[in-house]
């Protein structure tokens, strides 16, 4: 028999204003739940113990996929990953996101897990997840970045005391598509670029995103900029199901004849945020899309990487994925 997670008040508002008000009142003791896969693991392990859990799934305005006037799409944060994967508009215009969503976890998790939750999920470092008092948990040590630490899955870039990586597959795709996040709280609505939504440990070591208590991610907007471009998504993980990426790559390429007119390329699971590879973009933009260009781009992909004891393999893996993405 399994035991149960500690008790909490479960509140089920049906409108956004009530949800925000409940979360604002609860402050640090509040918790917003949607798909629940990340949340319930924390509760069952007794590592996070909120007293007020706000179920967002009754708020219909946060669901569904709408085309916007500029030819982009707006995806409600509660839209499930299965819906994102199979939506005809997203498949037609932003196939990159559809592919990324199809590679998340397992079918059952995609059926209930939401895109909002997928981009807001917490770090997957197992030291942090097992409740140790690491930097990210408010302590003053890192258990992973040590000679014996298990850091095979950890970062190559941007370490600042914490070496956790962005675990999301859709986040990489959204950064490449120039998406923006719509956040509401008691003082109104703000829209931030995906690149600013994800934050590294140098900015805030305890949070992977800019979301604060009382904030609700309501929607994700994708502009028309990359609609119908050529896309490449690939995720490498230890297992083909369930697993988080060791490295993932999400590229959007606009072609002009055989020339790369413009490109966005983002790599996941190598830094605490999805890593936009600006240098690679600058190198290959304007070049023919061929093996030589791919090799040039790949050579610059991992420049500046600082591997930990067990994750050197991520460097050639990253370069290989960039090569494949550019070569097409």
């Amino acid at each position: 028999m399994k035991d149960m997670m500690p008790n909490f008040n479960l509140v089920q508002p049906t409108d956004l204003a009530s949800a925000i008000s409940l979360l604002t009142d609860a402050g640090e003791n509040g918790w917003a739940i949607a798909g629940g896969h990340d949340s319930l693991d924390w509760f069952k392990d007794r590592i996070k113990r909120p007293t007020t859990v706000v179920d967002l799934t009754g708020i219909d305005s946060l669901k569904g996929i709408r085309e916007t006037a500029d030819g982009g799409v707006e995806i409600g944060a509660l839209t499930t990953l299965t819906e994102v994967e199979n939506n005809p508009i997203i498949k037609e215009k932003f196939g990159l996101l559809s592919s990324a969503a199809s590679r998340v976890a397992s079918p059952q998790i995609r059926n209930k897990g939401t895109i909002g939750g997928n981009v807001s999920q917490d770090a997957r470092c197992w030291y942090y997840r097992s409740g140790l008092d690491c930097y990210r948990a408010g302590g003053n040590t890192c258990y992973s970045d040590t000679p014996e630490g298990m850091n095979r899955e950890h970062c190559l870039f941007g370490a600042s005391r914490c070496v956790a990586v962005s675990p999301s597959d859709t986040a990489s795709a959204l950064v490449s598509l120039d998406a923006s996040m719509v956040i509401q709280n008691s003082s109104g609505e703000k829209v931030v670029a995906a690149t600013d939504f994800f934050i590294g440990p140098a900015i805030d070591i305890e949070n992977m995103t800019i979301l604060k208590p009382g904030d609700v991610l309501t929607a994700i907007r994708i502009p028309a900029t990359w609609a119908g471009a050529e896309f490449y998504f690939e995720k490498v993980a230890d297992r083909n199901s369930w697993d988080f990426p060791l490295v993932n790559i999400a590229a959007a390429i606009k072609m002009n004849g055989s020339t790369i007119e413009d490109i966005r390329i983002t790599c996941g699971a190598v830094e605490c945020v999805p890593k936009r590879l600006n240098v690679v973009e600058d190198i290959v933009r304007g070049s023919e899309r061929n093996e030589d260009t791919a090799n040039l781009g790949a050579g610059a992909a991992a420049r500046g990487a600082v591997p930990l004891n067990y994750n050197h393999f991520k460097i050639p893996l990253m370069e290989g994925l960039v090569r494949k993405a550019i070569r097409g």
Binding site: M4, M5, N7, D41, V53, D55, P107, N111
Partner: protein
């Protein structure tokens, strides 16, 4: 036939194994309400706030629709669907493996869509239609074609993941009556089988596709 032993101790040679199986015993315990004795462990509310929630929290007495029947049940705010099904409603066909959305043994259908019941709060699905492995059989208790095919293809080995595999298979055939082998593989990719009988499960569902 005269019994070999007159004592009521367990007789390993007896073929009369149906007198009191473990399953009926557990169900009997649940039906008799003996669970109250283990309330602390069962509900996680021992010594604390036994009302199950303060102001604004959900009502505990709810009715949920399981396998086509409305079932009134007392549900704690922090209760997972797997817990409600197994320990409150006696539907022990749904298994708990990892309790962390990482194995698939607890797979049920919610509004026709497969979901891990271990990672679903019952209150979050109380207005939806839940189908467990007990609910996939025909009106007279006949096996679903997926179940029949699994028997024929020797799919279950230890059998612990089987209820989850059945539900995933039935859900697949409901939305796609003629799946390719790859589609079957994909549909079962959220169900672990530690015996490694994946091919047998896939064979069974491909076989059942022609009959469902």
């Amino acid at each position: 036939m005269q019994k070999k032993f007159s004592s009521d101790r367990y007789d390993p040679l007896s073929t009369e194994r149906d007198a009191l199986s473990r399953r009926t015993f557990i169900k009997g315990v649940i039906a008799a309400g003996t669970v109250a004795g283990a309330a602390g462990l069962m509900t996680g509310c021992s010594g604390g706030d036994s009302s199950g929630g303060g102001a604004g929290s959900v009502e505990r007495l709810v009715t949920i629709n399981v396998n086509g029947k409305d079932r009134p049940v007392d549900v704690m705010p922090n209760e997972t669907l797997a817990h409600t099904l197994r320990n409150k409603l006696g539907l022990t066909g749904t298994k708990l493996g990892c309790d962390r959305a990482s194995c698939g043994a607890c797979t049920v259908m919610i509004d026709g869509v497969t979901t891990y019941s271990c990672s679903t709060l019952t209150h979050m699905v109380r207005n939806k239609k839940i189908v467990t492995v007990e609910g996939v059989v025909g009106p007279n208790g006949e096996l679903h074609p997926v179940q029949q095919a699994m028997i024929e293809e020797l799919a279950p080995q230890c059998g612990y993941c089987t209820p989850g595999q059945v539900v995933s298979g039935v859900a697949l055939l409901q939305r796609n009556p003629n799946p390719t082998r790859d589609e079957v593989r994909h549909a079962l990719s959220g169900n672990l089988c530690r015996c490694g009988a994946y091919n047998n499960y896939i064979n069974a569902i491909v076989k059942a596709a022609g009959r469902a």
